[in-house]
Amino acid sequence: MTAKLSLRGVRKRFGDHEVCKGIDLDVADGEMVCLIGASGSGKSTLLRCMNLLEPIDDGTIWLDGTDISEPGLDPQPVRQQIGIVFQSYNLFPHMTAAENVMLAPRRVYGRSRDVLRPQVERLFSRFGLGDRMDHYPDQLSGGQQQRVAIIRALAMEPQIMLFDEITSALDPELVGEVLDVLRDLRGQGMTMVLATHEMGFARELADKVCFLDAGRILEQGPPDELFSAPREARTKAFLSRVL
């Protein structure tokens, strides 16, 4: 089986600090992969490299068998295929929730508001935000904002979704509503890569869990294996701290 997304020997440095030190990773179609590890282990940077928000220094990234890490390649078409949701939502504060969602499809795919509005309405009601479409981000709770950010990424109809610790900035009682959205997407067969601290969630839903440590994938495997019988001492130490 060929992977939907493949990383081989991916390296990324910021100044003197190498954040990714040769990452190999395969994500199959419809698979959900969770990246776990301490803060600063390179999870976020790896996600940002996958949709070319950060150019990689070395290695190759393949999307459906096409090398997307070629220097000088136009990143825009790739980003339409690979959506990302950030920890801090990053909604556009001067636009309503619906306008946030419709901006990119309007400008990039040239669709009109009239065509988009019913589709966007369906997405909003599917994620329990039917009555929040015309609110501005600062009128929404953190959990609602994060769900709008997910809808905004989905509206581009990507083939892969990346989630960068999307529940880390939320109050504990709001985490559940955002995880429900991920569960829903998982049910729809969306290919997903998550950087997350929600171990219970990773254990419940992931096909594969990767433990990152100091810029390397130290260990990876099905969640049952990795959580109950980790092979590496560092993985054990990390899991004993967070579980």
């Binding site: 940002r48 949709n51 928000l53 990143p75 825009q76 078409p77 980003r79 339409q80 959506g83 990302i84 950030f86 801090s88 990053n90 909604l91 556009f92 504060p93 001067h94 901006l103 990119a104 400008r107 990039v108 905004r152 990424a153 581009m156």
Partner: protein, 286 residues
């Protein structure tokens, strides 16, 4: 057993009596107000009684605060001020548009547009580095000196151009600072949705940047309203020039005070409003 001996919670009172802290704070407030009032009153009284004791007061009063001259010249000054308003009214939109264009020039990244960027830098450096009045002189006297036919020798055109050149340089810098103030994560979010850099600037960055710099730009436009008076040096008889004419006519300086009053009536509320917007924005950020 009477009510007073009961602890607070058990006395069953419904109207909330002021707490100890509230009583204390009210007392402090009353005292500060009293002190402020006494202090202000003594300063005002001192000015009212002491200034007229100065030896030159009668002469100053006659030549600067002459009621008869004021009444005779004020309507004419107001009329001349209309010209200031008109020059302002057509300069301001030109300045806003030019300023935005220059700011965008300075922000271009494409190598092919490097000359534009260079132009933007040179423009803002030069016109922020010159006194307004000097630019008005050089352009206002220099260009018509080319012997252009009417109406192209009009001081209104070239004076306006001078104001636009200088003020758009400042507006450009203010807008650029607004663009820089937009957090990188907003650009990341836009890029991650596949928006082009151009669309990111137009739909995501600029609308936020311009909103953020409205108060700063208002202050610039208040300064512009005052600097319109500088055009009088190259010809137009606006309120400052008109006051000068009246001064010579009546051999009295009161028209200048009248002109000053007209400016203040406009600029003080505008400045207050700009401050109010600025405070509101600062509060929203914290």
């Amino acid at each position: 057993m009477d009510d007073a001996s009961l602890p607070d919670g058990a006395s069953g009172r419904t109207v909330a009596a002021p707490t100890r802290r509230e009583v204390y704070e009210a007392e402090v407030r009353r005292r500060s107000n009293r002190i402020a009032l006494i202090s202000t009153a003594s300063v005002v009284l001192a000015i009212v009684f002491l200034v007229p004791l100065a030896p030159g007061w009668e002469a100053v009063q006659r030549s600067f605060f002459n009621g008869r001259v004021f009444a005779a010249t004020f309507p004419g000054l107001l009329n001349a001020f209309l010209l200031n308003v008109m020059i302002f009214a057509w300069s301001a939109p030109l300045i806003a548009v030019t300023g935005l264009a220059i700011a965008l020039c300075r922000d271009t990244r494409a190598p092919a547009l490097f000359p534009l960027r260079l132009f933007g830098i040179a423009y803002t450096d030069i016109f922020r580095g010159l006194p307004v009045v000097l630019v008005i002189y050089i352009i206002g006297f220099g260009v018509p000196g080319l012997g252009l036919p009417r109406p192209w020798n009009s001081p209104y055109i070239w004076g306006t151009l001078a104001l636009v050149l200088v003020y758009s340089a400042y507006v450009a810098e203010v807008i650029r600072s607004g663009i820089d103030s937009i957090h990188q994560s907003q650009r990341s979010a836009a890029a991650s949705l596949g928006l082009s850099e151009r669309d990111t600037m137009r739909f995501v960055v600029l609308p936020q940047a311009i909103r953020n710099v409205v108060p700063a730009n208002m202050n610039l436009f208040i300064a512009l309203q005052k600097d319109v008076a500088l055009l009088s040096f190259i010809g137009p008889v606006e309120v400052f020039r008109q006051a000068g004419v009246y001064k010579s006519l009546y051999a009295n300086f009161t028209p200048y005070v009248g002109a000053a009053l007209i400016f203040l009536v406009l600029t003080i509320p505008a400045t207050r409003y700009a401050d109010y917007l600025m405070n509101k924005q600062n509060r929203a950020r914290t």
